[in-house]
Symmetry: none
DNA sequence: GATGAATGAGGATTCATTCAT
DNA sequence: CATGAATGAATCCTCATTCAT
C-alpha cells in the first residue's frame, strides 16, 4: 500500500491550513491584500514566461499587475523571491493534487497513470506557467543557492513510492532500480512538457499522456 | 539499413573539411589564432557552468582565458555568440560522432544503444560542458530568437531514423508514433543528464546508460 | 502684412499651452520634476559647451546637475535626446519670440531689423547656449538622422516671409530670389555668432547687430 | 595695389617649396610613399564626410585606403593629426589659389568676385571635402586645442586686404569696419556651403556665386 | 499601505594605439 | 616598411531596490 512519506506529511497539513485560511472569513482589507498578492504572482508568471526571468524587470511585473514598483516589495522580499514563490506554491498544489489522486486509486499502475495525467494536464492548462516551470525554474535551481530542491524531491518521492509499490505488487519489473525508473518517468514527462513549450504548443499537451504512459509502463513492465 | 538524411549530409562533409583544415599546414599566426579561440571557448564553458550565462561577465571569461576583454570580440560577435558557438560546435561533434557510430552497426537496436551510450558518455566526460548544455542552453533556446534549433532537430532526426529503422526491422513496436518515441528517448537521456548536473555529479553519468537502455528498449519493444 | 505661415501656427499655440501649463497650479512633486528637468538641461548646455557633445559624458552632466546618472534617463531617452531637446526647446523659444516681435512691427524692414536683433541678442546672452548652437548642433544635424530640421526650416520660413513682404512693399529689391536672400541673411548672422563663439567672446555679440543690419539691408535694397 | 600681408608671405613660399618637391625627381620608393599618404588622406575625407570625425574609426579609414591599421600611424601621428592635415593642406591650396587669382586682377571688386567664385567652386567640386570643411572642422576648431586657427586667419586677412583696397579705391563704402564686412562676406559664403552640404547638394554650389556676389557687393557699396 | 522618483553599482562593447612578426 | 592581432581604458545605459511623501 502506498503511504505518504514522512517528509510529505507536513505538506498536506500545511496546504490544508492554507486552504482553510482562504476559506475562512477575512476582513475586506485582508481579502484585498491576498488578491493583490495573487495579481502580482500572476503578472510575474505572464511576464517571465514571455521574457525569461532575467529579461523580466520588476517594473514590468508591477505594470502588468497594475501596482507601483515599490508595492512588489511589500509582498515579496526581492525579485528572486517572486520566482521562488511561484515555484513553491505551484509545487504545493501539484503535490497535494497528486497525493489526493493517488489516494483515490488502489492499483499502482493506475496511480502511475494518474501521475502522468496530472503532470501533463496541469502544465498543459496554463501555457505561461508551463514556460516558467520548464525553462526558467530549471535554470534557477542550478544558479540560485537558496532554491529549495526539497519540493522537487518530494515530487520525486511520490513517483518513487508508486513505482516501489507497483514492484511489490508485481505490476512492474522488480529488478529495476526504482530511482532510475523515476528519472526515466520524470524525464519523459519533463521532455514532453519542455518540447511542448519550445514548439509553441502546436498541440494539446494532455493528449501526449496516453502514448507516454503506454511506453513507460511497457518499459517498466 | 540506416541512411544519413540529406539534411545531415552537409554536416559530415563540413566537419570533415574542418578537420582537414586543422590538420593541414598552418602558419604560426593561424595556429595561434585557433588555439586562442579554443582557449576562449573553454574558458567560457568553465565560467558559464559556474555562474550561469547571465551571471557570467565577459571580463571573467577573458580573465579565465588570459586574454584582454576586447580580444573576445575579435573572435566572437558578442556574448550571445559565445553561447551559440559552444552549442553549435558541440552539436556538430555530437552529431558527427553519432552518425559515425551508427554507420558501424547493423542492428537498429544496437544503433539505439550506441546513441544512448554516446549521449551520456559525451556529456558525462565534461562536467562543465554538461552544465552549460543541460541548463544554460535550454534556457537560451527559449529566450534568444537567433538560436538555431536546426542542430537540435538534426539530432532528433538521427534518433528518429534509427527508431523507424528498428520498427521496419520488427525490433521495436510498429504501432508507436516515432516522433513520440523520440521524445521519450531524448527526454530520458536529457533528464539523466540534467539530474546528474543538478545533483552535482555524485555518480558517473555513463553508468546510467545501461539501465536507461534497458527500460527504453523494453518500453518500445 | 506679415502673416504667420500655417506651419508655424501650431508652434505659437503649443508654446502658449506650455506656458499656461507651467503657470497653472502644480503639485509639489510636479514642480520639482520640472525644475529638475531644467537643471539637467542647463547642466548639459554648460558641459557640452565646454567639451563638445562627444566629449561630454552623461556622468559629467549628471554631476553638474547634482543628480544621479540614472536620473538623466528618467527625463531623456538617451544622450542624443538631450541635445535634440536643447535644440528644439530653444528653437521654439526663438521662433515664438520672433513671431511676437514681428507682429508688433508694421514696416518690413523693421521686422528684418528685429530678427537680426533677436538672433544676436538671444545667442549673445548665453555663451554656453551659443556654443552648443553654433558648433555642436550644426554637427549633429549632419550626423544624426533623427534630427528634425523642421524647426530650422520654420525659422527660415519666418525670415523668408519678412523678405517677401519687404519686396512686395518695395522696401527691398524684388529681383532677388528670396531663398538666396534668406541664406545670405542667416549666413551673416550665423557667422557672426560662430565667430563670436570661436573668438572666445572678446566683444558683445549684440553690438554686431547694427553694422550687420546696415550691410544686409543695403545689399538687399 | 594689393599686397600680400607679411603673415602670408611664408605661405606662398612654403607652398612653392612643396610644389617643387612634388615635381622634382623622386625615387620610386619616395613616390610610392607620397601616393600612399595621399590615398590615406583621401580615404579619410571620404569616410569622415560620411560618418563624421568622431564616428569615423581609424580601421575604416585604413580599410578604405587599402592599408593596414598600423600603417596610418607611419604617416600621421594620430587620428587628430589626420583631420588637422586635411585642414591645413586644403587651406594652403585655397590660400595659394586665392593669392594667385587676386594677383591676376587689378579691380578690387573683381578681386572680391574672384574670391567668392573660388570659395564656392573650390568646395563645390568635392562634396566630401566640403562636408568635412563645413561640418567636421568647424567642430574641431572649437574642441581641439592644437588646432591652428592661423590658416583661417590668413584667409580672412586676404579678404580683408581686398576690402580695404576696395575702400581705398572708392569702390566700396569707406565707413564700414572692414573686419565686420569680412565676417558678412565669409558668413554668406560659409552658409551657402553649409546649406549645400546639409541639403545634400540638390544644386551646384558654384551657381550660387553670382547672386551672392550681387547682394554682397551691393551691400558693401 | 501605496506610490514612483531617485539612486548608483555594474557590464557589454568600442576603438585608438602599440608592437611582435 | 607594413601588417593586423592584441590591448584595456573608457562610457552609455539598465534596473533592483529604497524611501520620502
Amino acid at each position: 500500500m502506498f503511504t505518504i512519506t514522512p517528509s510529505l506529511g507536513y505538506l498536506v497539513a500545511s496546504i490544508g491550513g492554507f486552504m482553510d485560511a482562504t476559506q475562512s472569513k477575512l476582513s475586506n482589507r485582508e481579502r484585498k491584500k491576498i488578491e493583490k498578492r495573487q495579481r502580482i504572482l500572476d503578472a510575474a508568471i505572464k511576464v517571465i514566461a514571455k521574457n525569461g526571468f532575467q529579461g523580466t524587470t520588476v517594473a514590468e511585473v508591477a505594470s502588468e499587475a497594475q501596482v507601483a514598483d515599490g508595492t512588489i516589495y511589500l509582498y515579496f522580499q526581492n525579485k528572486d523571491d517572486l520566482l521562488i514563490t511561484i515555484f513553491e506554491e505551484t509545487m504545493d498544489r501539484f503535490i497535494a493534487d497528486g497525493v489526493k489522486e493517488i489516494a483515490k486509486r488502489t492499483s499502482p499502475t493506475d496511480k502511475l497513470r494518474a501521475i502522468v495525467d496530472l503532470h501533463l494536464s496541469g502544465l498543459g492548462s496554463n501555457e505561461d506557467l508551463a514556460a516558467v516551470f520548464q525553462i526558467e525554474l530549471r535554470h534557477s535551481i542550478h544558479t540560485m543557492k537558496q532554491f529549495s530542491q526539497t519540493k522537487l524531491r518530494d515530487y520525486f518521492n511520490i513517483i518513487e513510492g508508486v513505482i516501489e509499490e507497483a514492484q511489490r505488487a508485481g505490476e512492474l519489473r522488480a529488478d529495476l532500480d526504482p530511482w532510475t525508473a523515476v528519472k526515466v518517468v520524470f524525464g519523459a514527462l519533463d521532455e514532453m512538457a519542455t518540447n511542448w513549450v519550445l514548439r509553441k504548443k502546436e498541440y494539446a499537451l494532455k493528449d501526449m499522456a496516453a502514448p507516454t504512459i503506454d511506453i513507460l509502463i511497457n518499459g517498466l513492465k
